[in-house]
Amino acid sequence: MLHTKIIDSKKEKILISNAEKFIKDSKFGASIYFLGTVRNINDNKTVTGITYDTHDEMVIKSFEEIYYEADQKLDIKDKAVFIEHAKGHLNLGEVSIIIAVACKHRDQAYLLSRFIIEEIKKRSPIWKKENYENEESEWLKGNPIMGKQV
């Protein structure tokens, strides 16, 4: 069971309550909510916010691929996964990503949550532009995208 969405920060917010509704099921004994939030300092610079850019179709495709790969690599068949990522400007402390997972047992839930965020970092086309207190801004250096080529 999978839910994925890009949240346009101009129109809505990422809400933990939506994730809770989606993954809640009495067949699962372990739930983990991972939140990524905007931090105030990076590389000794005072950050005032982050603007996220996304290639929406490819991001959603990568979330789906990661979910199905978890079946094969981690062998966790019975699970609920809720992934949302923000795009647009976020202020300090605001939620940029939520990964909520529910599994039968806690060891599966920890493994799955970590697997998803690490794969998103490697494969999902998302970019961050940091905004600083002197009204300057900078695109963060990322890593070349990994994945299949045609």
Binding site: G36, Y52, D53, T54, H55, E57, M58, V59, K61, H85, S96, I97, I117, I120, K121, R123, S124, P125, I126, W127, K128, W139, L140, K141, G142, N143, P144, I145, G147, K148, Q149, V150
Partner: protein
């Protein structure tokens, strides 16, 4: 052929719009497109080295949302996205 190059991440600084148009003569590979983008940057940004670095370190994505390799053949007018190094979360 006309390529609509959709801009993402750091490459958004290449234009005020969300894309640039690149003209390529005859059949071309992705490598040829990369060279044409660099020519565009030479012309419009006096060869801005940071911009050229972005192009060289980027992947590219087809209209079908697939990452394309350097020997991908471009045979029609099409939309291609530039995918600079990523870092979400």
């Amino acid at each position: 052929m006309k390529i609509k190059l959709e801009l993402f991440g750091a490459s958004r600084d290449f234009s005020d719009k969300d894309h640039i148009e690149i003209e390529i003569e005859g059949k071309a590979s992705l490598d040829d497109l990369r060279n044409e983008i660099i020519k565009y940057l030479d012309k419009n940004f006096k060869g801005n080295e940071n911009f050229i670095k972005i192009v060289k370190s980027s992947a590219f994505c087809s209209e079908n949302n697939e990452i394309i390799s350097d020997n991908y053949k471009i045979i029609n007018d099409q939309k291609i996205s530039i995918i600079p190094p990523i870092g979400g979360g």
